[in-house]
C-alpha cells in the first residue's frame, strides 16, 4: 500500500491514518494511528481540509494535515 499525506487525499475513498505528528490535541480529538477517516471538503487557497471521523467532522490546517500519513482502505 502506498502512503501519502492526508492533505493530498482526493476525497472519494476512506483512509486509515498511519502516522501522526506529536501534537497534544490530535490524539484527544481521536486522530490516532488506525483511525478511519473520509474527506468531506478541502477549502481553497491552502485552507484547512475537513474530514469525517466517526460521527464528527474535524477541520485540520494544511500544515498539520500534510504531516499526517494515510493509507487508502476502501473505495
Amino acid at each position: 500500500m502506498i502512503t501519502s499525506s492526508l492533505y493530498s487525499a482526493n476525497g472519494l475513498s476512506s483512509y486509515t491514518l498511519t502516522a501522526i505528528p506529536t501534537h497534544p490535541l490530535l490524539s484527544s480529538l481521536g486522530l490516532r494511528q488506525g483511525s478511519q477517516v473520509s474527506i468531506v471538503s478541502r477549502q481553497p487557497l491552502g485552507g484547512p481540509i475537513v474530514i469525517r471521523l466517526g460521527q464528527r467532522c474535524l477541520a485540520i490546517a494544511r500544515d498539520i494535515a500534510e504531516q499526517i500519513q494515510i493509507q487508502e482502505t476502501a473505495r
Binding site: 501534537h23 497534544p24 490535541l25 490530535l26 490524539s27 484527544s28 480529538l29 481521536g30 490516532r32 468531506v40 471538503s41 478541502r42 477549502q43 481553497p44 487557497l45 491552502g46 485552507g47 484547512p48 475537513v50 466517526g54 460521527q55 464528527r56 467532522c57 474535524l58 477541520a59 485540520i60 490546517a61 494544511r62 500544515d63 498539520i64
Partner: protein, 590 residues
C-alpha cells in the same frame, strides 16, 4: 452579554458542611446548559467549544446538605495543554464529593476517554448522557443499562436544552454526593489514556441504524464545502444584516420613536419644567443635550431596536453551531489577518460586545492568537450598540455609506492584523477544530437567552448613558465645550474637517462606543463628514470597560499598545478619508 458581571458569590458560614460537585466533560457537550438548569444560574452557553473559559459556581437545591456545583471548562483530557484544561485539572485536584461527567450521545467514543480518566482517579462519578434526542434523530441508539454496567456508575439520559431527564439527574447527583466523602486527588503527570477501552465500550452499547442521509445531514456537509458553503454563508450573512437593519428600523420607526416623541419626551419635559425653573439645570435635564431626554431617547428609542435584533441573530447563530462552520470557510481570509479560522467565534462575539470576545479568547491555543484577536476587536469591530448608532446616523442618508464603513473596518483588520502579527512575538497555531452538529435552536432557550442579553444591555447602558450625557450637557451649557473644542480644533476641524463641537463625540466615546457616534446626529453634517466621523468613532479607543478588561487580562504594556494603536489608526484613517474625500469632491465639482 454587554459586560460580564462576576459570578454571584455564595455565602457559606464557617464550619458548615457542603457537598462539592464538579461538572466536567468534553467541550460543547452541554455542561453549561445542564449547570444553568440545575442551579438556576445564568451562564453563557452556545453550540461550540469553549464558551466556558472560567468556572462558575452555583448551588443545587434539594439535598440534605447544601450542594455546590462548579461548571468546569470543557476538556478533552486531563493533560493540561490549554488554559481551560489547566483550570479543569486544578479544580479536580482540589477534590469533589461527586463529578458529573457529561457525555455527548452523538459522539460517545470520543467522550469516553475523559470520563474513564476521571473515574480512574477514584472520585465517584455520575454520567449524563446528553443530546439523546439529537442522537436518535441521527439514528444512534445507546443501550443505557449496558453502559451503566460497563462504567460501573449511574448513567442518566438527558436532553438538557429541552429539560428532559434533568430531574432524575439532580436526584442521582445529590444521592451520590451525600453517600461519599470529599476526595482530594493527585493527577498523575502522564495519565493513561483510555482510548482502546472507550472504543470497546462504544462498540458494545451503540447501535447505528443504517439509513439514507436525510436532507439535514446533507445540508450539514454542504455548509462546510466551499461550494455551496460560501454562497450559503453569503445568504446567511445577508439575511442576518437584513434582519438587524430592517427589523431594527421598523421597530424604531413604527413603535419606539412615535411613542417617545409623542408621549414620553413631552411628559418628561412638562414634569421637569413644572419643578425646575428656566436656567442651566433645566437645560441639563431636558435641554438640547438634556440627560433625561437624550439619555432615554438614545439608548432606548435609537439603539435598543438594533441591539435587540442583533441579539436575536447572534443567539440563533450561536446555538445552531453555524459559526465554527463559518470559521472553516473563512480560515484563509483570517490567516491574511494573522489569525486562524477558529477565532471567528470571539471575533463574531465582538460585534456584540468586546468584553465577552476578549474573555472568549482564553480558549485560543496560543497567547499570540489571544493578543491578535483582542487587538482587532478593540480596534475595528464595532459593538452592537455602535452598530445601532451607525445605522441611525448613516442608514437614513445612504446605505452605501453604511456598507462603506464596514468595508473599511474589514480592510483595516487586514492591515492591522498584518502589522500586529509582525510586532507581536510568538506564533499562531494552525487550525485544528471539531465542528459541532448543526442544530435547529430550541425556541424557548433561545428566547430566554435573547431576553437576558437585552436586559443586560439595558442595565449596563442606561446609567453610563444618562451620566455621560448629563456631563456633556453640563459641559455644553456652562460654555466649557467652547474651550475644549478650541483646544481640539486643529485635530477635529483641521485634520478631520468636522465642526468643532464634534470634539464632544471624542470625549463621550471614552465612556461608551455608541456615544462617539450619537452626538454627530444633532449636527448638520455632509455625507463625507458623517463618514469621517463614523470611521474615527469605529477605530477610536474601545470604551472604558473594555480597557479595564484588557488591562486585567493582559499586561499594561499591551493595553498601552491598544491605546496608542487605536488613536493613531482613528486619526490617520479619518484624516486620510477627509482629505481624499475633499479632493474627490473638488475634482468632480469642477
Amino acid at each position: 452579554m454587554n459586560c460580564h458581571t462576576g459570578p454571584r458569590s455564595i455565602k457559606i458560614s464557617p464550619g458548615e458542611k457542603v457537598q462539592q460537585v464538579l461538572f466536567m466533560g468534553n467541550p460543547n457537550v452541554g455542561k453549561s446548559v445542564i449547570f444553568a438548569k440545575l442551579t438556576g444560574m445564568k451562564v453563557e452557553s452556545a453550540n461550540y467549544a469553549g464558551t466556558t473559559i472560567t468556572y462558575t459556581t452555583g448551588e443545587i437545591a434539594g439535598g440534605e446538605l447544601r450542594t455546590l456545583a462548579t461548571d468546569v471548562p470543557g476538556t478533552y483530557s486531563l493533560q493540561a495543554t490549554s488554559p481551560a484544561e489547566e483550570v479543569a485539572t486544578q479544580l479536580l485536584g482540589q477534590g469533589a464529593h461527586t463529578v458529573l461527567c457529561v457525555l455527548d450521545a452523538t459522539n460517545l467514543e470520543r467522550n469516553l476517554p475523559l470520563a474513564l480518566q476521571v473515574a480512574s482517579l477514584g472520585i465517584p462519578v455520575v454520567y449524563a448522557l446528553n443530546m439523546v434526542d439529537v442522537a436518535r434523530r441521527k439514528g444512534i441508539e445507546i443501550d443505557v443499562a449496558t453502559l451503566e454496567k460497563l462504567l460501573g456508575a449511574p448513567v442518566v439520559p438527558t436532553s438538557a436544552v429541552r429539560g428532559d431527564g434533568l430531574k432524575d439527574l439532580r436526584e442521582q447527583i445529590l444521592q451520590c454526593a451525600s453517600s461519599h466523602d470529599l476526595h482530594p486527588v493527585t493527577i498523575p503527570q502522564d495519565m493513561e489514556d483510555f482510548w482502546d477501552r472507550s472504543r470497546e465500550i462504544a462498540e458494545k452499547v451503540e447501535t447505528r441504524a443504517e439509513r439514507p442521509p436525510t436532507f439535514w445531514d446533507r445540508f450539514e456537509e454542504m455548509t462546510i464545502c466551499p461550494l455551496p458553503g460560501i454562497p450559503i454563508a453569503i445568504v446567511v450573512l445577508i439575511i442576518a444584516m437584513g434582519l438587524v437593519v430592517g427589523g431594527g428600523k421598523a421597530l424604531r420607526a413604527l413603535v419606539l420613536l412615535p411613542v417617545f416623541d409623542n408621549y414620553v419626551a413631552p411628559a418628561i419635559t412638562a414634569a421637569v419644567s413644572s419643578i425646575v425653573s428656566e436656567g442651566i439645570l433645566r437645560n441639563v435635564l431636558v435641554g438640547e443635550y438634556g440627560m433625561l431626554i437624550k439619555g432615554i431617547e438614545w439608548p432606548i428609542a435609537l439603539i435598543l431596536p438594533y441591539v435587540a435584533f442583533f441579539y436575536v441573530v447572534m443567539s440563533f447563530l450561536e446555538d445552531s453551531g453555524y459559526l465554527p462552520r463559518l470559521g472553516v470557510l473563512l480560515d484563509n481570509v483570517m490567516r491574511a489577518m494573522g489569525i486562524q479560522g477558529s477565532s471567528v467565534v470571539p471575533m463574531f462575539m465582538g460585534y456584540g460586545c468586546a468584553i465577552p470576545a476578549i474573555l472568549g479568547t482564553k480558549a485560543a491555543t496560543s497567547q499570540k492568537e489571544r493578543l491578535m484577536v483582542t487587538g482587532l476587536v478593540a480596534l475595528a469591530i464595532p459593538c452592537t450598540a455602535q452598530t445601532g448608532a451607525f445605522i441611525v446616523l448613516l442608514g437614513d442618508h445612504s446605505m452605501l455609506a453604511l456598507v462603506g464603513v464596514y468595508a473599511i473596518s474589514f480592510s483595516a483588520m487586514v492591515v492591522a492584523g498584518a502589522l500586529m502579527s509582525r510586532v507581536l512575538p510568538g506564533k499562531v497555531e494552525p487550525m485544528l477544530m471539531e465542528i459541532p452538529n448543526l442544530l435547529m435552536p430550541d425556541g424557548k432557550s433561545l428566547l430566554k437567552k435573547i431576553w437576558l442579553r437585552i436586559k443586560q444591555f439595558f442595565m449596563e447602558a442606561e446609567i453610563p448613558m444618562v451620566l455621560g450625557i448629563g456631563a456633556a450637557a453640563l459641559v455644553a451649557e456652562t460654555g466649557a465645550l467652547v474651550h475644549i473644542s478650541a483646544a481640539l480644533q486643529p485635530l477635529v476641524e483641521g485634520l478631520l474637517g468636522l465642526p468643532p463641537e464634534a470634539s464632544l463625540a471624542l470625549l463621550l466615546g471614552i465612556i461608551r462606543r455608541e456615544l462617539a457616534v450619537l452626538p454627530l446626529l444633532t449636527m448638520d453634517l455632509t455625507l463625507l463628514q458623517l463618514m469621517v466621523g463614523s470611521i474615527v468613532a469605529l477605530f477610536y479607543l474601545p470604551c472604558i470597560a473594555v480597557f479595564f478588561v484588557i488591562i486585567k487580562e493582559f499586561r499594561l504594556k499591551f493595553a498601552a499598545l491598544v491605546f496608542v494603536g487605536t488613536m493613531v489608526f482613528a486619526f490617520a484613517f479619518g484624516g486620510a478619508l477627509n482629505y481624499v474625500g475633499q479632493f474627490l469632491i473638488r475634482l468632480f465639482s469642477q
